[in-house]
Amino acid sequence: MQPETQDVTLALRGDTVAFERLYRSTVTRIHSLARRMGGDDIAEDLTQEVYIRAWQKLETFRGDAAFGTWLHRLAVNLILSRRETIRRREARQVSGSGRLESIAGRSSTPGLKMDLEAALTRLPDGARQVFVLYDVEGYSHEEIGRMMGSSAGTSKSQLHRARMLLREFLS
């Protein structure tokens, strides 16, 4: 049995130490997803919520995919379900400058990648979420449409919008 599978089994029996191991092996990716989709200032809250939800839903994990894949999908769904919260938060922010400074101060990523991280924060939330899901996380337009409760066509147009805006921000 893979260590990850074993930890899931233990966690299902209530072993929080095993669940902590699962948390530690996945938190970087989940937090990055939360930060890019939800914003830097809400990423920690979203990340915490993802793991609490995962703990509650663990018995629905059937092992037909890797735990990380299951968790990632759960995280995406949860973050998307918080879109209204994210929208309200963004409305309170002034032109995203605080978030840009925050990201610039946290990462040592050089060049275009760093610029892209910062530019992502300036996108409208729908376009940003589609861009992250498609170009960063590798979901298809059909999957994104299902997860966002829209169509593949909407996902395509949001993606194009996001890419064009990012190109503009980065020029």
Binding site: R13, G14, V27, L159, M164
Partner: protein, 234 residues
């Protein structure tokens, strides 16, 4: 450069989702249009950078708060039913479920309601299996007990009564049950430490106070359930 740019199709082109005819038409256009070629190159750069974005985790450890919250969900179940079944083959199977928060609460309750950890140990009596030497040693328990006065009164009498039942019947537990308890007390100790770490970080948190309150309430409910199923009575 042509009069009409065709940037709308560039994303689909880069995704490989254009039909062959559209693809060829776009390629022909881009070959002639400097602006669209520039946009296409820039979009390629954006996509390439997106695929290589490095991940980084949170600045602080989020686990203590997550641990406190998942304790609060009551989802962590330690199933002792099989081990209680060891006591007699053919007897009716008894299902007793200890949840982590309930057992955490048990550790806290021992410290809080016994007045002192050592007194709590004395009530349970010495035992050679090491179980009882574990939970009360956690320094975190004493820290929490300092704040327990405002939380304890509603549950104190009932917990004393139920703990008395457990103490009275404890030696009836099968060795397998004892081993499970011991193993899970390790988890509980850790949960206590994590809960306390969260409290130390945010001592004014209403959420954490409520968590403790709910843990006490579940402790009472659980012990009632366990004693009823196991047939323990005063």
């Amino acid at each position: 450069m042509t009069a009409e740019h065709r940037t709308d199709g560039l994303s689909d082109y880069l995704n490989g989702s254009l039909g062959l005819a559209e693809q060829r038409a776009l390629e022909a256009h881009v070959a002639e249009c400097d602006e669209c070629r520039k946009v296409l190159d820039e979009l390629r750069s954006v996509i390439a950078a997106a695929g290589e974005l490095p991940d980084w985790g949170p600045e602080r450890d989020l686990w203590p708060r997550i641990a406190a919250a998942i304790d609060d969900t009551g989802a962590a179940v330690i199933d002792l039913s099989r081990h209680l079944g060891d006591r007699g083959r053919g007897s009716e199977r008894r299902r007793i479920r200890f949840t982590v928060p309930q057992l955490v609460a048990a550790g806290l309750a021992l410290a809080i309601f016994s007045g002192a950890t050592s007194l709590a140990l004395a009530r349970w009596g010495p035992h050679d299996n090491g179980i009882l030497s574990m939970a009360p040693d956690a320094p975190a328990v004493l820290t929490v007990s300092d704040r327990a006065g405002e939380l304890a009164p509603a549950y104190a009498d009932e917990l004393r009564r139920l703990e008395g039942l457990l103490a009275e019947h404890r030696t009836e537990l099968a060795p397998g049950t004892v081993r499970i308890l011991e193993k899970n007390l390790d988890i509980i100790d850790r949960s206590i430490e994590e809960s306390l770490a969260a409290l130390e970080e945010d001592s004014a948190s209403e959420f954490l106070r409520a968590h403790l309150d709910r843990a006490f309430r579940r402790k009472v409910e659980y012990l009632r359930e366990a004693s009823a199923i196991a047939g323990w009575s005063l």
